[in-house]
């Protein structure tokens, strides 16, 4: 069981899955870090993005990897509008109301998808969907390797946006001290909406990366969200680097506990880590403090 012939591919596959987990978690951590809200609509938005990528391929014949360039701006705008005109005004700035509004949004999105496309599970057939490459130590699926690379690039891009642009500076200012940022002339409502838009845009990219090897149905996003929450907490809420490393780590943990404990218990490793981190280091690996 412990032979490297089995272990190494499991670890590598875990890393590949983990990178896409990290991308979903990046959106969540960004929104949590700046707006301090737990976004319950994240999973439903991921399902919506997967449907969008699916139909971009079916109807427009757009390859999922090309669809990234169409869907990312689209979902940025969607996220921006949702925060600016639905979540913000409806929530009156109270945590419990934000919770309810995002919950309501999740219900609406998920069931609108169900109404429009029924509960059927769909997949796409891409010529490269099952291509594997021999990396010497393991055979890895090409789409998953591409997903891994793109996820790393996106994480780097987000880090650059946060650290090198004025908008990013404003986002970090709002995250640290909302009132102070407002007093120094930052439009907090706008920054909130931009952040939510960026978080949603991450989902569009994740969806395009997932589509070649994954399936689509109205509930598909939910499975990712609990995992993403774990990653966010593990990496430290609001930390980009933390999300990335947390995501990779969780991917490996899931892969290994699936290997040792079996498929149905595979996810339990994730939640045990989750609870342990919350109990012993709630600020996460890279968080500033709880």
């Amino acid at each position: 069981m412990l032979s490297p012939v089995i272990l190494l591919p499991a670890v590598l596959n875990g890393l590949l899955t983990g990178a896409v987990y990290a991308l979903v978690a990046l959106g969540l951590t960004l929104i949590y870090g700046v707006l301090h809200i737990v976004n319950f609509a994240h999973g439903a938005l991921l399902s919506a993005a997967l449907f969008a990528a699916f139909f971009a391929y079916r109807l427009l014949g757009l390859d999922p990897y090309l669809a990234i360039f169409l869907l990312t701006p689209l979902f940025f705008v969607l996220g921006y509008l949702l925060q600016r005109f639905v979540i913000g005004p409806a929530a009156h700035g109270e945590d419990r109301n934000i919770l309810l509004v995002t919950l309501g949004l999740a219900v609406i999105i998920e069931n609108a998808l169900l109404y429009a496309f029924r509960a059927d599970t769909r997949t796409v057939d891409l010529p490269y969907g099952f291509t594997v490459l021999d990396f010497g130590i393991a055979f890895l699926a090409v789409p998953r390797v591409i997903g891994f690379c793109v996820a790393l690039v996106v994480a780097l891009a987000l880090w650059m946006i946060l650290n090198l642009t004025d908008t990013g500076k404003a986002m970090r200012a709002v995250a640290k001290e909302k009132l102070g940022a407002e007093l120094s002339g930052i439009d907090v409502g706008h920054i909130y909406a931009v952040t939510f838009g960026l978080g949603t845009a991450c989902l569009a990219i994740a969806a395009c990366l997932l589509l070649p090897t994954y399936y689509v149905n109205p509930q598909v996003g939910n499975g990712f969200v609990l995992v993403a929450f774990t990653i966010v907490v593990l990496g430290g809420m609001g930390s980009v680097a933390g999300s990335l490393i947390g995501g990779l780590l969780i991917g490996v943990v899931e892969s290994l506990s699936g290997l040792f404990l079996g498929e149905s218990l595979g996810q339990i490793g994730i939640f045990v880590i989750f609870i342990m981190v919350l109990l012993f280091r709630p600020s996460g690996l890279f968080g500033e403090r709880a």
Binding site: A91, E94, L99, N111, S264, F271, V272, I275
Partner: protein
């Protein structure tokens, strides 16, 4: 604390108790039984979330434990249903105390507390979906035995009265908490934990007690579910649906009030039925409308139905210049 008097609570319960005498419609009674069961679980959430300010996203952990203990003791060990029900509440309280002790000991608050409760419920769900004792993926069936001594009845009316009685007890418990020193401590911890500590209150013990009571009430809801449907599996017991129902009802109805969970459960469930009628057979459409109305309620009645009622009463009673402004607090 100006909650409703004991007399008013008993009056509300007495009025509700007459419903099965007025209608024999199974659809109506079924709707009400499920709604009151949700109100009961929601009342459990309300003790911890409404009065204690600790928002749990994982009350499924307590509902499910109550349900599984009740079901498994009967199905596998032949224990009497009523005894199993009580054991279910006790088991649920125990799990509540355990999770509370772990999380409050490490000082988790706010979103962190919410997330850790969610994770505990998920761990229990995964364990229950593979453990042989809970029936793993198949679930546990309770044998049909329609006699009152096995907590099963021919008609729905006795179930209705039993769940109403459980709810009535929860009303009285919550009312007692409101008026007690413990309730004052709990509210103090909700409003400002550090200040409460400075006044000599032990927040850990107060929150732990609230969580235990909360879990026991939610567990009673779970045990009742098993007796009513005679079946339970890991998805129903520990699934997110009940965690959401448990927090939705008090928030919609009025958080930290005696009748909030009941008002909210009635409103949310009636809304669900109404949208189902409106949307007809189209799958999903009813829930789309439901979600929209939910957001509208939050947008225009941020303090819940109880908040609206209070505002309406103040408008009627107080002269115009004494009326409080909108409290967005």
């Amino acid at each position: 604390m100006s909650g409703p008097s004991i007399a008013r609570i008993l009056l509300v319960v007495a009025v509700l108790a007459t419903v099965p005498l007025l209608t024999t419609s199974n659809a109506v009674l079924n709707f009400l039984v499920v709604t009151l069961m949700i109100a009961l679980v929601a009342q459990g959430w309300n003790v911890l979330g409404g009065y204690g300010g600790q928002y749990s996203f994982g009350h499924a952990a307590f509902f499910g434990t109550g349900a599984f203990v009740t079901a498994v003791l009967q199905a596998r060990y032949g224990v009497n249903a009523w005894a199993a029900f009580v054991a279910g509440m006790a088991g649920s309280a125990l799990i509540g105390a355990l999770i509370g002790a772990i999380t409050f000991r490490s000082g988790l608050r706010g979103s962190y507390f919410a997330l850790v409760t969610l994770a505990f419920a998920e761990v229990l769900r995964i364990l229950a979906s593979v453990a042989p004792i809970t029936g793993a993926g198949v679930g546990t069936l309770v044998a049909l035995d329609l006699r009152p001594q096995s907590f099963q009845f021919q008609t729905r009316a006795p179930f209705y009265w039993i769940v109403l009685a459980l709810l009535a007890v929860s009303f009285l418990v919550v009312r007692m908490i409101e008026g007690s020193r413990f309730g004052a401590w709990l509210v103090a911890v909700r409003e400002n934990e550090d200040a409460a500590k400075a006044l000599g209150i032990n927040p850990f013990r107060v929150k732990l007690a609230a969580m235990t009571i909360s879990a026991a009430i939610a567990g009673a809801g779970g045990g009742f579910y098993v007796q009513y449907f005679l079946f339970i599996d890991s998805g129903i017991a520990y699934g997110p649906w009940i965690s959401i129902e448990a927090l939705l009802a008090p928030i919609v109805g009025g958080i930290g009030t005696v009748f909030g969970p009941l008002l909210g459960a009635l409103a949310v469930k009636a809304l669900g039925e109404g949208t189902k009628l409106l949307a007809g057979d189209a799958p999903g459409l009813d829930l789309v409308i439901y979600g929209c109305v939910l957001i509208l309620i939050v947008a225009f009645a941020p303090n819940g139905i109880a908040g609206l009622l209070l505002k309406a009463r103040q408008r009627l009673v107080l002269p115009k210049d004494l009326q409080p402004g909108r409290s967005d607090g």
